[in-house]
Symmetry: C2
Subunit: 405 residues, 2 copies
Amino acid sequence: MNIMIAQSGGPTPAINATAVGIIELAGTLANIDKVYGALNGIEGVVHDHVIDLSERLTSDVELEMLFYTPASALGACRHRLPENIADDPLYPQIIQNLMAKEVELFIYIGGNDSMDTVKKLSQYCALKGIDSIRFIGAPKTIDNDLEGTDHCPGFGSAAKYIATTFAELEKDCTVYNQPSVTIVEVMGRNTGWLTASSALSRLNGGRGPDLIYLCELPFDQDKFLTDLTLLLTEGRPILVAVSEGVKKANGDYISVIEDNKLDAFGHQFISGSGKYLENLVRNRVGGKVRSIELNLMQRCAGHISSKTDLEESRQIGRYALQIGLTGETGKMVGIQRVSSHPYQIEFVVSDIDQIANAEKKVPLAWIMPSKSDVTCDMIDYLKPLIAGETALKYRNGIPDYISLH
Amino acid sequence: MNIMIAQSGGPTPAINATAVGIIELAGTLANIDKVYGALNGIEGVVHDHVIDLSERLTSDVELEMLFYTPASALGACRHRLPENIADDPLYPQIIQNLMAKEVELFIYIGGNDSMDTVKKLSQYCALKGIDSIRFIGAPKTIDNDLEGTDHCPGFGSAAKYIATTFAELEKDCTVYNQPSVTIVEVMGRNTGWLTASSALSRLNGGRGPDLIYLCELPFDQDKFLTDLTLLLTEGRPILVAVSEGVKKANGDYISVIEDNKLDAFGHQFISGSGKYLENLVRNRVGGKVRSIELNLMQRCAGHISSKTDLEESRQIGRYALQIGLTGETGKMVGIQRVSSHPYQIEFVVSDIDQIANAEKKVPLAWIMPSKSDVTCDMIDYLKPLIAGETALKYRNGIPDYISLH
């Protein structure tokens, strides 16, 4: 039998580690002939843009390079399959293309949209009585917002980047012994997991962010200004972490300017939440203020990946293959935490119905009553996920990453 | 005798490595009693905010932590000494405070402004016939814009961060197989060394930035739009590197909006060069476009420091102390490149008069005739500076940095 892997959604430093887990295990199983890789997610299946990974990756050295390479080496897409599962011609086309390559197991490594794809394809096969192809989802997303798993592969590496970067920004901001405000915007439109990770910068004695705002709670602008003004009386640099997606009480993002003022090019002036708060502080508080966006760096910084994250990502790939080989379909593999002290996990399986299109938010109990910090329970949850440094190889002074196509 | 160290100017990941070089060598010399550290640069001398580093740093473990810690552990200042050297009362105050601590050698680790301070203090002493205190400058700046040295300690680490980050951003941007424009703004108001380092992302087979704009040449907006439009016909993601300080032919920064339009808070709308180009492309070319600022991360990312840079920074600290002990004053120590293949350097001394307030720009011959890329000579110059990875220790998943005060 042959199997096929595809990847989709936004980049993470761990998405290739999951592919490596699948490829490595498949290489040891006599009943698996070829491992195909579809390019640009499900679109690669639709258009038959597929590479033979068993041919492309011939050495352990290349597999190790792939393990450490950030962002989908097979490419990604933003393609939502049609809702009309019974009649849309795209479904038989996908199945036909998979059958033409004698693929009996399709593993999709991705986030919410990819799980929706797994759900629809398994539903289509059930509807049409096709039992020769199984569909398994393997989670990845730096946002950590998937149900059915304690945490998502990819998140730990992004959290390690964020924790490290906040520790370093704190060193940078405090060289001048005078009041200033530095606002750092962290990814997360609807969930604050990544922003919460900024608190991990305190683990080795750092002060960490003075104020942390997650998007699970409405942003109270007046309280922010009051709290900040009070902090500034201490006469020192103040560091603020804010989710890109913080919203007002009415649910609007804070960062969209209300009165439709236009910028110099005639476009609506839409800033990020960090830039918005920078302007707010400059206008209402004054003094030295700046904002920083961690931007794409927080999701592709393979050079500061978490060893724990990458190893778990590899193992969840192996597990996805094992589950698929038992005959399961329409499932997502996930991680269940057995204990935090010591950190222990096991792998689990969920029905994809319960995963696709759901969103796991930060529990409100893990946000401090001040609404501007996180609790020790949050730290206990996050801390094991950033543990360990990888053995990434460098060549010529930069990481030695691989390209597959 | 006692010696005193101070640090100033913007953070770099290597400024503490130079301090460590001084402290380590001083610890082996019988004629040096105490090594003091002035807090927040020359202001620490003025206000007698000084710590005893011989007391504060008692173990090799702490010295090693300091070696890897980014940003001035002694703090910094932006303080330009008065021009009236003969009569301003600040000068006798500084000398008095140094004499009170029996300091015979003051080493200032910093950039252009710090070298100006070394110059003025040594001039004051010459003027007043004071020969019991010497002043030596040790260079550091990520901008690499100091004369009297082949390259500046701190630059190699920032260049390694930039090269690595561009390699990773390229992985991120290319997961979607469709045209897009990503513009990355790199630090450098007047010199393009850091922006040029983005080309090092090609060293392991990456495509690197498609267009690179240094601030040494006037920015030709029409040519940029023409070149970009042509590149977009290839149907793939385009990566652009631009210096924060690129200017129009008339010398104005491109990023200041000419007609004084105001933002929603009534402030002049000033964007960075990256944001400016993003808006320009959105308006004139269209399609998917975004901009990224590497911001403070490029000057404080100690976790991706260059081993070559940190070791040279340590050695230049040792050399500064040796030179100071020979009785020299009003000098800056620097690096002279003996050869690039193999990479060999030696340390040299320059009169501070030739250094302070001068600025070393990228040679125009190292910019391609297209004006949007750098030459092989530039790569030959840059490549050895990012070589090697450090042995930075991690604890709890984040770097184990030290605080001195």
